[in-house]
Structures are given as C-alpha cells and as structure tokens.
C-alpha cells in the first residue's frame, strides 16, 4: 500500500513509565474526574467487542472520548450479519449499543477500513489508545481436494448471504439437492441447518433477506446432516440451540440409537452443561417420544440428523468436473476421552452422496497490518489481557483477541477486561495524557485526502429507518439493504 499521508498531527511523548499495580474496579471515575486532560481513544470494529469496550471506557472514565471506526457503513458486526434472523431477542443488545453511540463522548465512523483507508500507525498517532476489535472475518478451510467445487460453501459466506452481508449478496447457493451436509457440529452449523429447514411461515416474519428467502422457498432440500469428526460427547453446539432444533416444526430428528446407548451413565459426573446437553440427545434418540412429538415427527416433511466420527477427506466431483456430487470421509476412532479426545482415522472410508456441502468448521481472524503482532497459529493478535504485545497504547478485544468462539456475553466480559487494562494504563501514566492528541480531527484530514467519506451514527439511523419502513410493507421487522451503493445513496453520499 503506497500510503504516506505526509501529515504530522502528533508529537513524540515523554519517556514511558512502567504501570503501577492496578487500582480497584471503581477508583477510576473518581480519580479522573479531576484530571484536566481527556484521553482520546479509538476502537476499530463496531461489533459487540467494539461497543462493549467503548461502553466500559465511557462509563468508568468520565472524560474519555471514544471514536468507533467500522469498515462497513452499518454497525453491530455479527449481531447484524451473524446472529440468525429467527433470533431477534439476541439482537436486543443493539438497544444498549445505540445508547452508547448516543453518548456525547462517543462517535461512530462507518465506511472506514482500518489498514487501508487509515493505518493503525496513523490511528496511534491520533489517539492515546487504540483498541482493535475487528473480529474474525474469514473462515477456516478444510484443505481437502474439491473444496472449491460448486455446491460447496463456507457457512460464513452462507450466513452472510441470508443475513444481507454486502460481500455475500451474490453467493446464489445451489439449493437443488435433496440432501445437504454441514461439516462441523457447532452452533453456526445448527443455525445454518435450522434456516434451511424452517417452515417458510416462520422465516417470512424474520429479517432474513428477500432474495435468500425466495431461494430457500424454491429449494428442494429435505434432509440436513450435521457431521462431526469426533463423537456425541464432543459436540460444540449448546443445549438451547439443540432443543430449538429438536422442536423445529415440520422436521424430525434422525439420531442413531447406537451412537447414544450408554452415554447417560458416562456423563453422570461431568459438569452440568455437558451433562444436560448429552442427556437431551440421549432422550431424543432413545426414549419413546410423547404423543404430540410422535405425531409431529410422523407428519414431518423434512429431517435433520447427526453423524459422528467422520472426518472429511475429499469432495467428489460430478461428471462435469465442476459440481460436487458427494463427499468422502474417513471414519475415525477416538483417542482419549472427554473434551480432549482426538479423532484418528481408522483407515476405513465412507462416501456420501449430496449436492450441497456447507463447511462450518469455524471463523478465522486476519492480520490487519504488518505493524500489529499476529499469532498465525492461534489466529489472534498476540496480547496479554488485551494489551498488544510490545506495542504500548495498542489493545484488542473480542474474537480477534480470544479466537472465534464464545457468545456475546463471553465477548462482553473479555471486552470489559480489555477496557479495564486501558483504564489501568491511563491511571498508571503509561499512557501519557500530557502528550496531546487530536483524535478524529487528525483522522478526518487523512480520510479526506484519500477521498473516504465516513458514515455517522445518525446516517446509520436513516438507513435503519428506511430498512424498518421497507420491512413493515411486507410484515418483517426490517428488510435489509444489501447494496453498499444504495446505502450510501440513501444518506446522500
């Protein structure tokens, strides 16, 4: 990237001191309310990590100014583009985020890609502290032959497509197969299976995009298999999501009793979450269903099931060499037990016919900029309690700090921890406030010189209102705008 801004809006600070031991949780607001200098802080990314970090900083430091930079015009990260459309209650966190954005010490600048439109180095010159909360925008790959055949999609792209992520709007997945295989047994795998199998009347009332709803309505899909390389005791999904799947109208579960026999006893002494999760699978697989459930299963037109100890080896091409017609899997046995059991191939293989394969084996973060230390093995920014290694004034939170697992509450807690590290470093003097920083004023001129026009939070609120109005016409909570240009036009950019 040839990008020398030629702008100097910073000066070197005085030599840095080491941090003193941390003060208690509460001390900060009192201490800082008397300080004359306002720390200028920015957060990169407007998902839960970005917003919860900002919320904590604003709450516990009464002078801090927090600016949030977001690559997309619209905020909220995976809450908008990840969380399933039929889980509107999860998206209630947006109300709290909106309150944070309305603080007069907080500003939102969308449509700004850090690392391209403005560099991390430049943000560090403009702010006392920079928090990287840019999530995990890529996905892990299987690394097997045939992975790129048509009919094979990453769950990340598929989720982005039904949730209106502009980059995935043209995915046009081929849904003409009767059977789909989802590789992986996490909550994303369950989300994908549920969206594919949900009765249309349920989906129609959600904020799923118009285009994907129409495609799913026209699909021939009857059956979804969720395939894990390990066993039932190692599934990564959680009980609430499993129960929802088991109760999904119009569908019946396909669980092989042989997979579950005897497991009830095995989990007697494991921690409650794993125990209850396993017991629910065992009950659905082995017990006779109640009358209502039996009737529902009998009349179901679609089905889903779990397959275990199958590790993907190769996606098999159809005669045309372009499309997927099935998948070859290694049958595995487990070495060790419990959470840490390992899958080892037995040498036996199995082929399975299916025209739709969704790989749901996890998301992955990308390095943002060569100046930020990145642990490519773990796929995270190298850090200690959110302090980026060897880079004073640089922090991280959320999936890019911890790796791409954990629900919103996990992300909230780890973001509070990072914010706490920032507050401690402000208090200890490690972040030098007498070194005055211009914050957004400095970044504004950089962006201007590069022809980048940021989207403000009130701009977003116009987009939001337009989406809600469009949704109302068709009885949905919103109809998402999936086109970048259309969003920008709407706000007069």
């Amino acid at each position: 990237m040839a990008m020398s801004s030629g702008r100097v809006c910073w000066k070197w600070g005085s030599p840095l001191r080491r941090p003193r031991p941390a003060a208690g949780w509460r001390g900060f607001s009192r201490l800082h309310s008397t300080a004359a200098l306002a720390p200028q802080i920015c957060v990169v990314g407007s998902g839960p990590a970005g917003f919860y970090t900002a919320q904590h900083l604003l709450k516990h430091h009464k002078l801090a100014q927090v600016d949030i930079y977001e690559k997309l015009p619209v905020p909220f990260g995976l809450v908008r583009f990840g969380v399933a459309p039929d889980h509107p209650e999860v998206k209630n966190v947006i109300n709290t985020f909106t309150q944070t954005a309305h603080s007069n010490r907080c500003a939102y600048y969308g449509n700004v890609t850090v690392g391209k439109d403005v560099l991390v180095k430049e943000l560090k010159q403009a702010y006392h502290a920079v928090v990287l909360s840019y999530g995990a925008e890529d996905n892990r790959v299987l690394g097997i032959p045939g992975e790129n055949l048509s009919g094979v999609y990453s769950a990340r792209a598929f989720v982005g497509w039904y949730n209106g992520l502009p980059e995935n709007r043209d995915l046009k997945p081929d849904l003409n197969s009767e059977t789909a295989v989802v590789l992986g047994q996490g909550n994303v795998a369950l989300d994908v299976a549920r969206v594919l199998l949900s009765p249309l009347d349920m989906l129609r009332k959600t904020d799923i995009t118009e285009g994907s709803l129409a495609a799913i309505a026209g699909s021939k899909l009857k059956r979804v298999w969720l395939v894990g390389r390990r066993g039932p005791l190692q599934v990564a999904f959680t009980i609430k999501e499993l129960r929802e799947m088991i109760n999904l109208p119009g569908t019946r579960p396909l669980l092989d009793p042989a997979d579950f026999t005897g497991l009830g006893d095995v989990v007697k002494d494991v921690p409650r979450p794993r125990r209850r999760l396993t017991e629910l699978m065992v009950k659905s697989a082995l017990e006779k269903p109640g009358e209502k459930e039996a009737a529902r299963w009998a009349s179901a037109t679609k089905e889903w099931g779990l397959k275990f100890q199958r590790s993907p080896l190769e996606v098999l091409p159809a005669a045309d060499g372009k499309r997927a017609r099935g998948i070859r899997m290694a049958i595995t046995s487990l070495e060790g037990s419990g959470e840490s059991a390992r899958a080892v191939p037995t040498g036996e293989v199995e082929e399975f016919e299916c025209g739709l394969i969704l790989s749901s084996i996890g998301y992955r973060s990308r390095p943002i900029d060569s100046s930020v230390p990145f642990d490519s093995k773990l796929g995270i920014i190298s850090n200690s309690v959110g302090r980026v290694q060897g880079a004073t004034g640089l922090y991280c939170s959320g999936w890019v700090k911890r790796g791409p697992t954990g629900v919103i509450v996990t992300t909230m807690n780890d973001s509070f921890d990072t914010a706490q590290s920032v507050l401690e470093d402000l208090q200890s003097g490690l972040l030098n406030l007498s070194d005055s920083k211009e914050g957004f004023e400095c970044v504004r001129s950089i962006l201007h010189s590069r022809g980048v026009q940021p989207v403000t939070f009130s701009d977003w609120e116009k987009i939001d209102a337009a989406e809600v109005a469009r949704g109302r016409l068709v009885g949905k909570p919103r109809e998402k705008i999936v086109d970048f240009q259309e969003m920008l036009q709407l706000i007069g950019h």
Partner: protein
C-alpha cells in the same frame, strides 16, 4: 444500561401488580430507549397510585463486593428491579429479559434458592452458559419478587470463567 424489558419472556406467574392496576401505569408499557429518567418517573408514578402495593427489600452484592439495596415491588422480576431502580451492575440484562443472554445471572443463598418457583428447562439451558455457574444460580429475569423475599440477598457472580470456554479447552486443533 439495560432497558425496561419489552418483549420479555416473563414467567407466567410473574405478573407485575402495576400491569393489573386499573389506572394506566407507564410501568406496564414499553420504556425502551427512554432511559433512566423515565424509569424513575415510572416508579414514582406507580408508587403514587399503588400505595397499597407491598414493598420488599432486596440486596444485591455487586461484582466489587458493594452492597446495593433496592425496594422492590411484589411481582416484579429481579431484572426489572435492577432496571427500575437504576442499580449499577455492569452489563446486566443484555437481552432485556428474553432468555437469550444469561447476563442477569444471580447467585442465591441456599435457603432462599429452595423457596423459589421451580426452574424451567429453558432457564436451565441459558444458565448453563453463564459465568461462574453454581448450584444456587438463577436468571434474574425469571425470578419474581414475592412478599416472603423481604430482606433477600443475592450475589452478582464475580468469577470470570466461562463454562463454554472450558468446554472448548480440550478442542482438537486442525
């Protein structure tokens, strides 16, 4: 700051008295986005009309050990108590009482726990994801205040250990 629960999944037996009150009370309506001032106004308003409503004192031990004391009304959920009384508990009630977040996790004393209404599978499912789960944990949005609870003390969990993360520790890497 959490909002007053709007589309909340309250337990059926958890009917706020103000909702049954013949006088239209802002308490029953949606106060989403109206912030703290409105919530306080609403409480004052309710108190004014419902002077017969029983007051129950509830104490919350916050993360830092500080004791917060609230005057609750019978029938309110503990989440509503926190919201309506503007108690300062970080991140509490993120999903606004819809059983989708577990941030309203509270820990009870054994005796008090035993006297609570039975717990549903759905609450247990969500609790299983909570930080610092104990045998006497409940979700605040699912527990409603009763007269007999007067003087109750509940603890906000401090332990920063995520059950789900523990589940994932032993995961096989690619």
């Amino acid at each position: 700051r959490p909002h007053s629960p709007s589309n909340s999944k309250r337990p059926a037996n958890c009917l706020s008295l103000s909702e049954e009150s013949p006088i239209p009370c802002p308490h029953a309506g949606c106060m989403r986005g109206t912030g703290v001032a409105m919530a306080q106004l609403a409480v004052t308003f309710c108190n004014f009309f419902d002077s017969s409503v029983d007051r129950v004192t509830v104490h919350f031990i916050n993360k830092d050990g500080e004791k917060l004391t609230a005057t609750a009304k019978e029938g309110e959920s503990l989440l509503e108590v926190v919201v309506n009384q503007n108690l300062d508990i970080d991140g509490f009630g993120a999903c606004e009482g819809t059983l989708a977040c577990s941030t309203c996790h509270l820990i009870f004393e054994k005796d008090a726990f035993r006297k609570l209404d039975p717990i549903t599978d759905e609450e247990l499912d969500m609790l299983d994801l909570a930080y610092g789960l104990t045998d006497t944990s409940r979700l605040g949005c699912q527990v409603c205040v009763k007269k007999a609870m007067d003087g109750l003390t509940v603890r906000v969990p401090t332990e920063v250990a995520d059950i789900r993360r523990e589940l994932e520790v032993g995961k096989q890497s690619k």
